[in-house]
Symmetry: C2
Subunit: 357 residues, 2 copies
Amino acid sequence: MTENRKPTLAVVGATGAVGTVMLGILTERPDVWGEIRLVASARSAGKVLRVRGEDVVVRELTPEVFDGVDVAMFDVPDEVSAVWAPIAAERGAVAVDNSGAFRLDDEVPLVVPEVNGAAARNRPKGIIANPNCTTLTMMDALGALHEQWQLTELVVASYQAASGAGQPGVDRLYDEIAVVAGDRTLGSAAGDTAKVVSEKLGDDSPFPAHLVLNVIPVAGSLKDDGWTSEELKVRNESRKILGIPDLKVSATCVRVPVQTTHSLAVHATFARPVSVTEATAALEAAPSVEVRDDLANGVFPTPATTVGGDPTVVGRIRQALDFPNTLDLFVTGDNLRKGAALNTAQIAELVAAELTA
Amino acid sequence: MTENRKPTLAVVGATGAVGTVMLGILTERPDVWGEIRLVASARSAGKVLRVRGEDVVVRELTPEVFDGVDVAMFDVPDEVSAVWAPIAAERGAVAVDNSGAFRLDDEVPLVVPEVNGAAARNRPKGIIANPNCTTLTMMDALGALHEQWQLTELVVASYQAASGAGQPGVDRLYDEIAVVAGDRTLGSAAGDTAKVVSEKLGDDSPFPAHLVLNVIPVAGSLKDDGWTSEELKVRNESRKILGIPDLKVSATCVRVPVQTTHSLAVHATFARPVSVTEATAALEAAPSVEVRDDLANGVFPTPATTVGGDPTVVGRIRQALDFPNTLDLFVTGDNLRKGAALNTAQIAELVAAELTA
């Protein structure tokens, strides 16, 4: 690549929920990329989308679309990434993949720029993986704490938003809210809300139960020994990103009726004693972390106040009363931004900086 | 009391959210009590409520209302119980109190009949306390596991329903759902839902933020070192009920947009090795516990399927992958029934059985 040319970017999966947020993020950072190609399945090809104030026609996903591309971002299902990220890499692009296809591959770095950005340079397959959104929600905060006090154990319960299941998840939540609104008897007898929702909307939902007036202790698919794919991702991806192969992790992943922004109740144990004051200072100093923690004055993080922003917002920072070297905290992060599009854009920018250096 | 007379019951706080559920429970168990007196504040006195198929006029709370009463149930604010439960006891009634006023009093037993029912007999003040609803949600399940494997550590994250804040909490949630329904842009930008809710409903809410399309990591009031009253209740009441004064507990209590039924993600460590198979068998054998745990066939607990029923429903039972002797599970229980009215009724029935024995 010549030094004068800005790198070319391809966005694969441009028409999805994360793709839509990505176009906004690329528009907010207009100076990084030269050409931006938008790519999607044949079904969406030909659509016109707006990025950086310009209309761009969506191209069909083909091998040739990657010719001349420096970085190709993928936000598509695992099986699509598994086939197409290597094709992009073969054609000379660095593939930044937000699917689960390569995250635990030893030859693919799993990167959170603020935590392990240097790992992005070692990519023997030409592929860099972007972590799962639930894991990403807490990585900036935990990375900052781990650096000083060495994380050893993690017990996590999640409050995951509908948009983690993409636009169909958001649509379903809004549809369900619309059909229950006005009926003040719902939610007080088993199955009554399910009946109304099922009668009005049918049972074709991205979720395994209705989400309105409910929480669902299932995200992802069932894996060995009763654990879900989402819960195992939190464990395995946290270990890889933080570089702690023996980190002890238990996660329970739960879907809640929130549009966008995941929340996590985190119980984190460290090798060394840590106080709330020290931890708060470390979090405040961390890039991409914001502390909102003054309960006496009504200051605490919620998904509704975090959504749409870049930082991970942390609050309810408490020293565990009975567990040594342990903090309890509540962490929120926009699952479509830092949890997906933003982190992918940040990784792509690391590569862009490297290519133009 | 003569053997032929059935005991007389007073229900103080009969017109509240828990009181309403209590009248239903008393109607389902019509043979326990002789006279049932309904009691409330002067504002509600004179109202007519239905119990056991009969209309009963609500009486005003006065010392004289307890004359001739054998058991007086209280579901009123802490400060009302603090004054009136001792008055009822002085007049000869056994007070069964669902407030926080006496729960940690050494001379007041804190009782879950299936777990420590015998403790109800030792009541030097004539008062028996009913635990907090969040603690109660998991006590039947944890009691059964503790009996066999000896509980040592507990990390809990809650998903608490609006009705934990009484009827005003339920009304506010329904009101908020009504004002956001139909607007599909809400929930994707910080503060947008809050603005609509505040404009249409004002900010006079039992919750410290809007609950629709949100979760709120605050329940109860702020206590020392950033912990909330609700989180400390989970710790201190679990220790007292289970008789484990040094039980290690960390809880994060979070309100979710569910009408009724609290859910808990529980990470429980025991002194002895325990398998999922053994734990499931113990839970299935426990009174008042139901296991719904077959994720492969879509069987798991949710608040919407547990609400309105008596049992604690447990699922997602997993052996922790990295923590010895530890189970992760998801527990749901109707916070107005087992979490409040039902447990109070069960305690009152223990006393009734004792008085008529």
